[in-house]
Amino acid sequence: MIGNLPYVAVVMFVGLGIYTLMFKRNLIKIAIGICLIENGVNLFLITLGYRKGAIAPIYTQAPSGQAMVLPTPQALTLTSIVIGIATTALILSVAMMIYKHYGTLDTEKVRRLRG
């Protein structure tokens, strides 16, 4: 079980994110929970493509004759990180507009659909 420690770390990230999303009532804490889930999924994508005793997949001044790590999951993770930035920026600015309109950030009190 000690050999699978990166996968257990990913499950800790996603589990903490889902706990924050279900049990907290402040809007900023919910935004932090969404950000935690996205970062956990990015970590999972990178740890899927590892080879034991291999080096980074770059040919500039590398030690010769060694195996290389799989490069495709790293390319997919780059795209996913940028999409995470866009999501976090939009949800924080919507939270700012809700605070200006209602005066509070509690999700039990912002229940009216018509302002």
Partner: protein, 158 residues
């Protein structure tokens, strides 16, 4: 937000130029060393965040304007799309400059080698376009949210 003390402002004056130059180095050498367009754009964006935090959002209206950043962002995306369409003789997004004799057209030595800047085909140009877009996107996001935070604050002692 309020401005920081004099020590922070002096160190910021000294350091933010080095951060911007380092970010452009990461963008330009994207086909030889780890890095590329997105990573270098994020480093330059953090230099703008440092300027905004240490000078306060009222004083930074003089040197951080939203219109120039918005212009560069559209220009970066249009340059990326034009580079994708210009290889359309064979397929969409074709690398028409690789292994030819022109601009960025040397053939790379197979195996381990110290990198040659002139290789890579259309990849360094795409790095510059995406890096320009990401750094101006960071600038626009930070400036708009800081001005909006002044607007949504509750009236405290008035």
């Amino acid at each position: 937000m309020k401005e920081m003390s004099r020590i922070v402002k002096t160190v910021t004056n000294f350091v933010y130029g080095f951060i911007i130059v380092f970010g452009f180095y990461i963008i330009a050498h994207g086909h030889l060393t780890p890095g590329g367009g997105f990573q270098g754009g994020a480093v330059v964006g953090s230099a703008f965040a440092l300027l905004l935090v240490s000078y306060g959002s009222l004083n930074s209206k003089k040197f951080l304007e939203k219109d120039i950043f918005s212009l560069f962002e559209g220009f970066g995306l249009i340059l990326f799309i034009v580079l994708g369409f210009s290889g359309l003789g064979i397929t969409f997004f074709y690398n028409f400059l690789a292994n030819s004799g022109g601009w960025f057209g040397n053939a790379a030595v197979i195996g381990v080698n110290p990198g040659d800047m002139n290789t890579g085909g259309v990849i360094p140009l795409m790095n510059i376009a995406v890096g320009l877009e990401v750094l101006s996107a960071f600038g626009v996001i930070i400036i708009t949210m800081a001005r909006g935070a002044e607007f949504t604050k509750k009236k405290e002692n008035s």
